[in-house]
Symmetry: C2
Subunit: 214 residues, 2 copies
Amino acid sequence: MSRLRFGISLSLDGYVAGPEQSIEQPLGIGGEALHEWVFPLEAWRKPHGLRGGEVNESTPVMERSLANVGATIMGRNMFGGGPGPWNTEQPWIGWWKDNPPFHHPVFVLTHHRREPLPLKGGTTFHFVTGGIEDALDRAREAANGKDVWLSGGAETANEYLRAGLVDEMQLHLVPLLLGGGARLFEGVGTDMAGLRPVRTVATAKVTHLEFARR
Amino acid sequence: MSRLRFGISLSLDGYVAGPEQSIEQPLGIGGEALHEWVFPLEAWRKPHGLRGGEVNESTPVMERSLANVGATIMGRNMFGGGPGPWNTEQPWIGWWKDNPPFHHPVFVLTHHRREPLPLKGGTTFHFVTGGIEDALDRAREAANGKDVWLSGGAETANEYLRAGLVDEMQLHLVPLLLGGGARLFEGVGTDMAGLRPVRTVATAKVTHLEFARR
């Protein structure tokens, strides 16, 4: 059974991006620091085409993230290019340039229709206007038996959590404060929808909390 | 050197008490569940005059909380009795009845003057109207070389965190959502005031994140 999986880095005060997100600063003020634990990892660098890197206690966590993923879902804000109808004269192709690190179909939630965007290395962005369940159905079909990765950002993650559609969740808790920004779990309510702790991995830089439903 | 230490249980969505706190429900809706990890512990039951209990991975964490404390600070809301001037006809003596589990001086932050309230077992409540630094000075003096424990609630903890006065902090992260209530770190900003991770203890019920400044 194809599972919807999700992982996100958050601050001690519960933010997954800092305040004042913009094209220049897509993770908001201070938000980059949430990801400092991941960039040095060989397990992260290799799929991004980079050599070398560290192997540490976070390695198996990252490997679990990346294993067996056949499709990705993300929100319009995470794909980028600003709000509103798509610019057809200078089309935005995502933050990742012409060879994105996904190498599988990516479904972007949007209110504005757009033709699929095939790029190098097997990544095609599909733009879904039918809502989160439609995106999940299409991603599951495209994943062809593999899992679907929910990439974020916060608003999209919160929509899937609120709908009880997440099967596995990794929270990477980073010991810093952002003081504002985009909050995970905002509006999700109290229902964990069957997600229970299955594993916690603590390192000096980050504590990984892993949840799954049976 | 006497240190200001602080420990609190919080939900995945960052709340230390649920919504709609009241005299009937001092921890708000669902807030009791934040403390389910602690009540079965022998290390918690013994100082509360109860026999038996569990010894598990949370035991040393709780023992570290309780060791070497000479005075406690808490907010008016945590002491209870409702807001505004103290009722002099039927004086509120706290949630803990006539033999509270502190056994040392307790300093209650309030805007309303009140004479000290000595109770059984060595606990005397002192009511401090001079603000958080005055309360800390008085608690340090009363602790007589031992540490001062900051008991909460959220608002009081946030005031001390914002002022950079906390020397050690234990966060007990409980895998549940409260969906609303009193939030730790609200208004604290981005400054950890030198608090760095020193230890993380993960159990099936709770993840203990311990911080200290050098």
